[in-house]
Symmetry: C2
């Protein structure tokens, strides 16, 4: 008699699980993009609920819904825009919730969907394999399990190294072991995942000339922003026999992304330093070596750590506009960075160079880039611009801030950067919802949205006759 | 004895002419784009010199160089941004110079280059034919002479009709026959060539509710902005036998451009009316029928007449931003309008729709659009965005105006629109030179610049192996 209900419950549970699994399989098969959005939205809902608990705030009071949602989205989308001060507004529990949200967001929603699929069905089905492959963007399907493991192990290792370097820095500042550990762990994850969250009551300002803190910040951010496919590719080439010139074995994607990233970073540092060198609100009052370090940090900031040691609000309007462009470009594909991605930007530039030269093919590093890739790059860039345009238009309508401030905030959200001219805490609720939507769309990817909205995947057999309209 | 010097002079002249012809032929053969820029720059130099004469100003004083250059570029590039009031600052002679500059600019630099070639060499050589074909963008080379004639005759006819309609309007206002004629002719050319210049001392404000003036303005602007290839295509279809459904014979370019133009115009009118309906600085104080008419004028304004019956400076910041996007898109190809062109915009949208749907081909109106066309569209849009970005960055550096005002001014110049939030007369000289460069590059075409800069036209025989980088 005690057996019967237990069996029934077990049957009931497995029935629910089976139905959930079937439903996920079904959605995944019909539209992987839609599954991405659903999973992401579900995680945000859970984090918002947890942040809405009174114990999540330092004052032990229920956070307003708009703030709980905004900061949940910001953490899961590893953006770093905050309407409240992370260090003082949230309790330790609240900060733990944010940190877990950052870790989940950083691992990427597609990897997560694959892990979820594993947990539910205790096997990686073909659809899950395809999902994971499309997120980490390797061409083969066989190594998905290995890849997910590699992603998790690599990220944990790098975060551990960062923690080991940073904890002594906080201890050296006279913090207790508990505080130093918590600050070190939180900041390490925030740095590697390009999350832009800061749980230090004193902020990052004191570290503006601190090489011990800023060098790990720069390196950790850059590794996180370049993307897992490139980390794995580089690691593979370093392990191979040809040790003297490992870059010869790199894929076109790795070569293209790293070179573009470096060019943009060097350019950013130079232009930023030139523009802000004598600005009394930013670099002006600092010593020379501090100005250099602050400019180096600024080189990785726009793509897309969001961890600023200088006051962005004090920078010149021209610097803001330069950052707008850099944030829009963003970091590497399948990384913790946002934006249209450096490879997308590089392909667009190469397409124009080829067009101007009159070349038939688009070439880079001795390889040809096909027209379907160009079309995808166009779509990503165009949808990104549309997202920013509509977001700016709506934000101008619901706030009283200037276009400079609004455009910066919108691109920062859409490219999941997390820098702000300082207007975030003063935004009205409708503006918080608009930015939340931008962060969500920015992280889940413009193409996922577009694919999710499309009702059909068509392969026409009959091709229409070709006709060339006039361009430009 | 009197014969000898005359012969010598004649020989000398024909020698100079021959060398000039050979030089032009040579430049045209090696780089048509470079010839375009040279011819355009030469025309601007002449107009600047004429405007620098004391008799060009009403006060009979020499205009400052920056103003003479700026207004010369604005007229030749049919933009309409002015640093001084056209009606009161310039003399009748100065206004005639501006009107001739507008007419030459409107006919298009390539058509002009072809005519120049005719005048110099008394024949249309193959290079000139190719030049003219590439400007008016018809595929055949045989009908260039006919085409140039058609362009000139069509523009003169439309300008004559506009003049016949507008002169009585000025007479009805109590103006003298001389004033009414001059105002009618100047405004007709300004309207059809989307030049944006106004030679009325009282401005366009009094006409905000005047259907007699605004309806010709709307229709004339729209015809001028849609482009000669489409005007000729429509005219051809109307003359043909199938009179009931003439649009069936239209080319893909005509269908694509007209439909995109109409969608954008209707959308602009609706959103503008919604945004400004109760704005006390713009539509607010007007009667309902006046608000409707003013909104209709605003529907054609951003692409790219630049003739505003309302005060742009009084519009909401959101309306400015909407106009930024519309001005960037611009009008039809090979027209008097600027921007990246509606067909370019349509191709980009179609490419994204195809990408989202998973289609192999980009299709419109039962025709397939090839990947080379997409690549060209990408190049034009990307170079346009880069031009606007660099221009905005520089303008922020040399002026104290807000990003809203600067971005509006820069896009207005780069897309040769001529609308302004009112900052043009207050710009410092460096800003005037920056805007002049933007108008010049905006009118001569981004691709011409890119092609001119390219050192070689390469057709590689060996193709590199294909490799697909990750995008987005
Ligand atoms: K971030
Ligand atoms: K214009």
């Amino acid at each position: 008699m005690a057996q019967a209900p237990a069996t029934r419950v077990r049957t009931g549970t497995s029935g629910v699980l089976r139905r959930l699994r079937n439903w996920i399989d079904d959605v995944a098969r019909r539209s992987p993009a839609r599954l991405t959005l659903l999973v992401f939205a579900a995680i945000i809902a859970v984090v918002t609920a947890l942040l809405s608990l009174p114990i999540a705030t330092a004052a032990n009071e229920r956070a307003p819904f708009a703030d709980a949602l905004f900061n949940a989205v910001s953490a899961v989308c590893v953006t770093g825009l905050v309407t409240v001060d992370t260090a003082t507004y949230w309790s330790f529990f609240g900060q733990v919730v944010l940190l877990v949200a950052i870790k989940i967001g950083g691992l990427g929603v597609m990897t997560l969907a694959s892990i979820l699929g594993l947990a539910v069905s205790r096997r990686i089905g073909l659809t899950q394999k395809m999902l994971a492959a499309s997120e980490t963007k390797t061409s083969g399907l066989g190594e998905v399990g290995t890849l997910v493991r590699a992603v998790i192990i690599a990220s944990l290792c790098i975060e551990a190294v960062l923690t080991i370097v940073l904890v002594p820095r906080f201890l050296a500042l006279g913090e207790s072991i508990g505080d130093a550990l918590w600050h070190g762990i939180f900041m390490s994850l925030s740095i590697f995942n390009n999350a832009g969250f800061v749980n230090l009551e004193y902020g990052l300002g004191p570290f503006v000339g601190d090489w011990w803190f800023c060098l790990p910040l720069i390196i950790g951010t850059a590794i996180g922003a370049i993307g897992f496919p490139i980390i794995l590719d580089v690691a593979r080439s370093l392990r191979s026999r040809r040790r003297r010139r490992p870059w010869r074995e790199w894929t076109l994607h790795t070569k293209l992304s790293i070179s573009t990233y470096l060019i943009l970073a060097v350019g950013t540092v130079a232009i930023f330093a030139a523009f802000e060198w004598s600005n009394p609100g930013t670099l002006g009052p600092l010593a020379i070596h501090e100005r250099v370090l602050a400019s180096l940090v600024q080189g990785v900031n726009p793509r897309s750590s969001g961890l600023a040691t200088l006051d962005v609000g004090e920078m010149r309007e021209g610097t803001w506009f330069l950052n707008d462009a850099l944030m829009f470009v963003g970091g590497g594909s399948a990384s913790t960075a946002g934006g249209i991605k450096v490879s997308t930007f590089a392909i667009l530039v190469l397409a124009i160079v080829a067009e101007a030269r009159g070349d038939r093919d688009i070439e880079a590093f001795g390889r040809r880039i096909g027209s379907t890739t160009v079309r995808l790059a166009v779509s990503v860039a165009f949808l990104g611009a549309t997202l920013v345009g509509i977001g700016t238009f709506l934000m101008l309508a619901v706030t009283q801030f200037s276009l400079s401030q609004v455009l910066f905030e919108v691109i920062s959200a859409a490219a999941t950067v997390g820098l702000s001219t300082g207007i975030t805490p003063d935004l009205p609720d409708p503006a918080k919802y608009i930015l939340s939507a931008l962060m969500f769309f920015g992280r889940t990817g413009y193409m996922a949205i577009a694919a999710a909205l499309a009702l059909r995947q068509r392969r026409r057999v009959i091709r229409m006759p070709n006709e060339r309209p006039i361009v430009g």
